[in-house]
């Protein structure tokens, strides 16, 4: 079975803060993996890094076969991220938003229509500007945007939050269907109960690492000696730096 996500001692810095401090993770295609952990454990950063929004600073990171340390952009069309923000244009209607999202990913307007139908957004809601929707409806549109792209890797950050009961059932159905179709799903939640029922496997994060993972050697030794620049710029010799 192909590996969708492969991380070894992956480190990701947000500014100078190590949000991911050495993650080891393997996810095979078609799996639904739940990532749980307390607030601040690094779940959101893990998803964002897998989506290529945040760079991996050290370690190995392979997403859908692409080395993320070489190029973050290459796999973006094959990935769908459901984040905390809804990434919607408030002035555009639901239909416009979804069509744009689909086309940007290389799909066509028909996929947008299907996604809308799936999420119960057809009919009256189609032509409502996104800014006027309730939070729950916006969430549905955001899910529809991911569905319209038909991604190979789904990254869902707290997907059930904000959805009503019907919406949650809908989402569960969509996730199962996606996985059955060969897509991989990585979801983060700090409410494990519902999500655990969905997932085939659970991993726990704490302190920027997946629990039980090894602390990377890459973190040891962080200062670099600058090349001498004439008088006055000498510095003590150090080891390799990750802030290049």
């Amino acid at each position: 079975m192909a590996t969708a996500v492969r991380l070894r001692s992956a480190v990701s810095l947000l500014g100078r803060f190590p949000a991911l401090a050495g993650v080891d993770l393997d996810v095979a295609a078609g799996e639904i993996v739940l990532v749980q952990g307390a607030n601040g454990a690094g779940k959101t950063t893990l998803l964002r890094a897998c989506a290529g929004l945040v760079p991996f600073t050290a370690g190995e990171a392979e997403i859908l076969g692409q080395d993320m340390r070489k190029s973050r952009k290459a796999v973006r069309r094959r990935i769908g991220l459901l984040g905390h923000a809804s990434f919607l244009y408030d002035d555009l209607t639901v239909a416009d938003n979804l069509t744009f999202s689909a086309k940007a990913a290389g799909a066509d307007a028909a996929s947008a229509e299907e996604a809308m139908a799936r999420l119960g957004l057809g009919g009256r809601l189609r032509d409502v500007p996104a800014g006027r929707l309730s939070a729950g409806q916006r969430r549905r549109v955001a899910v529809a945007a991911v569905v319209a792209r038909s991604p190979e890797l789904w990254l869902l950050d707290e997907p059930h939050a904000g959805l009503d009961a019907a919406g949650r059932d809908l989402l569960d159905g969509i996730v199962r269907e996606a996985a059955a179709g060969g897509s991989t799903v990585l979801l983060a939640s700090h409410e494990p109960d519902r999500a655990a029922a969905l997932a085939s496997r659970t991993v726990t994060m704490a302190g920027g690492q997946v629990a039980g993972g090894l602390l990377p050697e890459a973190l040891a030794g962080l200062t670099e000696a600058p090349p001498r620049r004439g008088a006055g710029a000498g510095a003590p010799a150090g080891k390799a730096s990750i802030v290049a």
């Binding site: 100078r16 704490a206 620049r229 006055g232 710029a233 510095a235 802030v243 290049a244």
Partner: protein, 247 residues
């Protein structure tokens, strides 16, 4: 890196102080006043070196360092810090240039400012690099600051010939009659001891620039080291979090 500069830099400092003093003596006492402008020409010994140093040396280095920082093969904090330090000194010198030039204009023919090609281009250049320094200080992560600032530096460099070209053209169409022919008056005859003094001034300011660069760069480097150390501590604390969570 220690908090005291190396002996070489200290020598540099003394040398620049000495040459500056010498220039001052030459400028104020030894050389004669200009035929047309009298004693006000002495300001030129300050004005020209600062202008050249700022425009060609300081900003030139900033642009070069920015390009090297952006290019993958030579990317390193070193170039980014060099670009920033050089730009700061460049802005300082250019500010001085504009101030002294303005004073000189006031003394020589009664106006604080005139819209001729060189002055206008210099003013725009000044604002461009003030903008560069502003980008270096934006509230964002260090990588964002450095990367965007580098791009702004290169764009500023691209813009200078455009501005110069445009403004020069503009001014040749509109000779300002009230000042006579400022182009001619702007370049007094400089020969003999005056030329040597000017050269001495350039040397003095070059030494001053190098000394300032050495110190400013060192300061920036140390700030960077401090931030790295803070990150090391942050990583250790993060690891500790994991241990607590596991236990």
């Amino acid at each position: 890196m220690t908090t005291k500069s190396s002996p070489a830099v200290r020598v540099l400092g003394w040398l620049s102080a000495v040459t500056l003093a010498l220039t001052a003596v030459m400028a104020l006492v030894v050389t004669p006043g200009d035929v047309n402008m009298g004693d006000s020409v002495r300001l030129l010994y300050l004005h020209v070196p600062t202008a050249w140093l700022a425009m060609y040396v300081a900003f030139g280095l900033t642009t070069l360092a920015s390009a090297l920082y952006l290019w993958k093969r030579t990317r390193s904090r070193f170039w980014d810090l060099t670009a920033g330090a050089s730009a700061e000194i460049g802005v300082l010198f250019l500010g001085l240039t504009l101030l002294i030039g303005s004073l000189w204009g006031r003394i020589t023919w009664g106006v604080w400012w005139t819209w001729d090609a060189r002055l206008t281009t210099t003013a725009v250049l000044f604002v461009l690099y003030v903008g560069y320094l502003a980008v270096r200080k934006v509230p964002a992560s260090p990588e964002v600051q450095s990367r965007r600032a580098a791009i702004v530096a290169i764009a500023a460099f691209l813009d200078v010939p455009i501005v110069h070209y445009a403004v020069e053209w503009w001014r040749t169409l509109h000779q300002d009659a009230s000042l006579g022919s400022p182009q001619r008056v702007l370049d007094p005859q400089i020969t003999g001891t005056m030329a040597w003094t000017l050269l001495l001034g350039v040397v003095a300011f070059t030494l001053l620039y190098c000394w300032l660069m050495a110190h400013r760069f060192r300061l920036a480097w140390m700030e960077d080291r401090l931030a790295d150390r803070a990150m090391q501590i942050a990583i250790e604390e993060r690891r500790a979090e994991a241990e607590v969570a596991a236990s």
